[in-house]
Amino acid sequence: MKIYVPRDAAARALGADAVADAVQAEAKTRGVDITLVRNGSRGMIWLEPLVEVETDAGRIAFGPVAASDVAALFDAKFGKHPLVLGQTEDLPWMKGQTRLTFARVGVIDPLDLDDYEAHGGLTGLRRALDMSGDQIVAEVTESGLRGRGGAGFPTGIKWRTVAGAQATQKYIVCNADEGDSATFADRMLMEGDPFTLIEGMAIAGIATGATRGYVYLRSEYPDAIEVMGAALKIARDRGLLGDSVLGSGKAFDMWVRVGAGAYVCGEETSLLNSLEGKRGVVRAKPPLPALEGFLGKPTVVNNVISLATVPVILEKGAAFYKDFGHGRSRGTIPLQIAGNVKYGGLYECAFGLTLGQIVDEIGGGTATGRPVKAVQVGGPLGAYFPRDLFDTPFGYEEFAGKDGLVGHAGLTVFDDSADMLALARFAMEFCAIESCGKCTPCRIGAVRGVETLDRIAAGDGAGIPLLTDLCHTMKLGSLCALGGFTPYPVMSALTHFPDEFTGRQKEAAE
């Protein structure tokens, strides 16, 4: 009997290790022969730890399972039991998705390269190895893939610049700093299907002529660091990485580098400085990292999901991928639904669902059962959306048109107890803590922002125009999006929930 108990950090945070131990122990006492697979998560975090058993009729899911449930599950021979959910693939959460990037996450053993290949892995890389670099770049460009790290820059165009640069050494750098609140897609991909990222980076290397790669992985993700490290060793042993990738004669190798707890190091030039062993201060552009990146050499910097989506594009073709999506946002996006939400987790689908569909239908509203008040989309630099804007379709241009951003596609749901002024203050405080210090509007402005919001909270209405001015200055005068976008959460809170700012005046005056 094959039993799956996820090793994903979220599953572990909810007790998956104890469940796995109990499964092993129970099987041993009962003399039942089992194979325990520690898979990635299917993304239904509210059901974690989600245990699956393989049957002739497909995989059957049980959840959320506690270690104390395991004996009863064995008693029931993993059949009729109150925790049975049915066939995993038939669960509404699974059926509604288009899993392209995450096709294997939760399905396979993350560290079994044969399992990976049996599920379509390496097909894209093999195809790429038969193509010229130009052809690969053209395919990625044609797919419409845009950077999933936040800025939405077309991936193929970035690759073309690096491919065209002449240099003795070029690099592929994967941005796995994933510092945004409400985002965990990078983490889940690396923990659940690390070979996909390795394959994507190898394809990027072959396409652009880069032979070395780094995954800059945040230190807050010890599980992902461990899985990536183990996967790299297997990939090297099996000839997927090294002097001759899959025997092609083309070289590509890559390593993990661990960050050190600075949010700003997710910004690509700060990341490159950090990788070089410097303070993670943002660099002015130009020069573009594509021309002068790591150690001054041409460098592709791409997000985990951008790179991990390349294998399926090469496997199924640009046209297949491009066919999904909405407007200029092509393909699929792994939504990360988080915060105060009934059904939280990762849901990959084509762009174009409305915010309301995502929050109310897929997410099922709040966990507390109270009304949804606001949703912050795109992490700490993203805007707060009120219910009035729930008809906004999920897409880069559509969100920009509403003074918001898609970012890394994280959504934080808040119920009606949310204090919007406190959240605006937090945005400024976070910016002050994490500022790299290079520009005054960000470094000093954020501190002033906190002070101003405290004044407003104390009933000083004159603080409101000051805050608006300050946001304007930060937006225009900041070198990067940390200082430049912090005004989004602040101004959206002020614009959509003005009473919570002016209301304080009345309270104080009464």
């Binding site: 979220a10 934080t412 959240l423």
Partner: protein
Amino acid sequence: MAQPSPEIASRVEEIIADHAALEGPLLPILHAVQAAFGHIPRDALPVIADKLNLSRAEVHGVMSFYHDFREDKAGRHVLKLCRAEACQAMGADRVAAHARGKLGIEWHQTTQDGAVTLEPVFCLGLCACGPAAMVDGRVVGRVDEARVDELLAEVR
């Protein structure tokens, strides 16, 4: 300036030698030094500076830029509580206030008995099962006041 302690210097030199071939070795070296000593001893800086051909101020500048590197030893256990938005939406502020009260310390401080250091963290990627915490590297989801008490009881 006194010479660095010989034990520290020799261990740090070993670590540097292990990382000498890396491109951009400073962060991996600082991580390894912290793993070895629990913090970055003051005496490690001149050794690193010397071997990497940097000034001591540069090495200190790098170390101090990053939240992870600590100049002083932490307590025997480190409790990290997520302060970011998705966890706030589930009551992280309330839980953190409880932890601070219970421990009688503020963020970044260590209890008098040296048992627990409390650190804020901005997202552990557990945002769909918040409030999230990390105890000595172990992740914990859906942390409420009672769970904080349990976690502290386990380590104290």
